[in-house]
Amino acid sequence: MTLVRRIPSPRLTRATALRVALAACALAVCASGVAAQVQVKYLYNLSSFSGPLRYEGFRVSVDQESGETYLIYQNLVRIFSPSGMETFSFGDDLDLGHILDAAVEGSGNIILLSFKDSRSLVTRCNFRGEPIGPFEITHLPPGLDFYANRMLHRNGLFYFASLASSSVIVTDASGKFRKLIEFLPLLDAEEQKKSGAEASGFTVDHEGNVFLTTPSLFKVYKLSPDGKVASFGRSGSAPGRFGILAGIAADSRGNLLVADKLKCVVMVFDKDFNFVTEFGFRGPRPENLILPDDVAVDRTGRLYVAQWRSRGVSVFALAQ
């Protein structure tokens, strides 16, 4: 039971009352739009013993348990320690077709998503990257083929996304089908026409919300586990507006990190979609970004940004 003690109101002069009212109004206005500050600091670029990686178009994912980073480039899975050095690689001699994504399950096994012979393939590998068996997707509804080019492991579930069709298949840890999330039917007709049915980025936060970025609509869409859809975003170059959306990631606080290839920034939004900050910007300095594309964030707030123009993957620290 909660006890509430009634406190007598102090006597207010008219001027004081006005000031209090104004302050209250100001607080109310600010409360709806103010987002927590996020400090961003460039740390380093992912490197091998040959120096910083100089390729572009990496797929980047993070093992939240170990803090290791997984990069995929030309069928090679490259693993980096939390300090940014390459520690292991595998994949180029596997007969798995085109390797697209990697995730780590609780046991430490590595799950690879690949595309071979016109079908998607999921393979369970041990920590050395040696295949130990298929990861079967079971109990799919009749008529639904399994296809994906992105994969995430969150909260014991696997999310397999097809960016081309903006759809996500969710399975449990054993690969048993849970649900299909289809994004396109959620749009109105004009949006459907404009979207080209294509998403550019995909992530899932720790509450199970699924996020997709749609560059041709200049919007980020959020699909909650309870089936609600929300979106935000407007085109433009002012801070917080979208140019060409790319990858998206959600940190442990629910902040959204959204890469913009046109503006060459990563934008930070809080979980209520309030714009917080943006950073990077085109330029030659290490902390600059050129065509930031895929992004991933670990639970300590280290953000990994894959870029083009042979700039590899830049790592930033986010602090709140």
Partner: protein, 421 residues
Amino acid sequence: MKTLRIGFVFLAAASLMLLAGGTAEAFHSGGVAECGGCHSMHTPKAGGYSLLIGSDPSSTCLSCHMHAGDTGPSSYHIATADADMPVGVAPLQRTPGGDFGWLRKTYTITVRGTTTTEWGQTHGHNIVAVDTVFAADTDNTTSPGGTFPGSQMSCTSCHDPHGRVRRNSTGYATGAALGGKADPIIASGSYNNSPIPAAGQAVGAYRLLRGLNDASVPGVVFQGVGIAIAPSSYNRTEATTMTRVAYGATGINTWGNWCASCHQDMHSSGNYVHPVDQSLGTNVANVYNAYVASGDFTGVAASSFTSLVPFAENTGDIATLQAHAKNDNSYMNGPGTSDKVTCLSCHRAHASGWPEALRWNMEGEFMVYNSLWPGTDTTPTVPQFARGRLGAETQAAYYDRPVTQFASYQRVLCNKCHAKD
């Protein structure tokens, strides 16, 4: 922010595949798109070309039209990222214009002890896109047959990102000058499902291509327009059915004329060049229609078309072209005698798996060898036909066609019109 209540639905695989093909009208809608999709007015550290934050126009285009992580032909992507093309893997996109990713595929061929290199840059138009690491052609420093500098080659050399050329209810027109008026563009005009503009309306020119005396590219004047209609789903494998772009030609609006804006000497009748924009005539049309494969001339006009050797129909009638632009083999008619050979009969506009952006391999006499797609793995005894590729790469260059569509020792497709095999 908007909030909707949704339920999760199941869709059949067929629906998914349809969606994966993507609609084709995204973003540009036949004309100038949303400004903020390419230009950034206020982003700090801007100062690039025309407030494009990309290093150059092509880099800006490829921000959307090139995407890492594709598994196959995907919507409006026209270049495969390096990340998706390890050695032995062909580019993934299958647009009629080709995949710029072929510019990155360099092959080494050793024949009778002599090793040669087929450089990727020979495979197409070398757009300069610094951010996505496409560089100028180092061999052709100017356009072959012309003087356009290779260092300035860009997507916007051919395409007008603002899409001012339009097709209205009476013909083609450009955007209005100050003091003038022009019909507004209501949608893309590139597809077989594009609207027919009513009076007072217009649709965009095919693929936002420049035309109608556009002289905004230094040193180049595009006199006519390029007439064509594509199926609305065009970036797709041709393993089972072909993607037929219906090219048209009328008056000065011919593809040879259009390409000659930069390659003018290729069009000169006095330079011993292959004819272009000329009617096929009875003999060639008959050969095209009869040709099935090397040694097999039993074809008929109603089923003789191949997208490996397209031709321009002698018409500018859009309704006709829309009826012929198919991706399900429902219209396979070959040419009539007045239809025309074009540059695009042999070349792809962007890039192909073969030198000079050709649609088939002209570096040897056989396209198919011993019923196999030539490859270092499939036909190792004839490296001159494999050209350093795996058999799968060769098949990809032919848009995944099964080898059984051709003769067991199929010769080059010059013979589709000339029947010397």
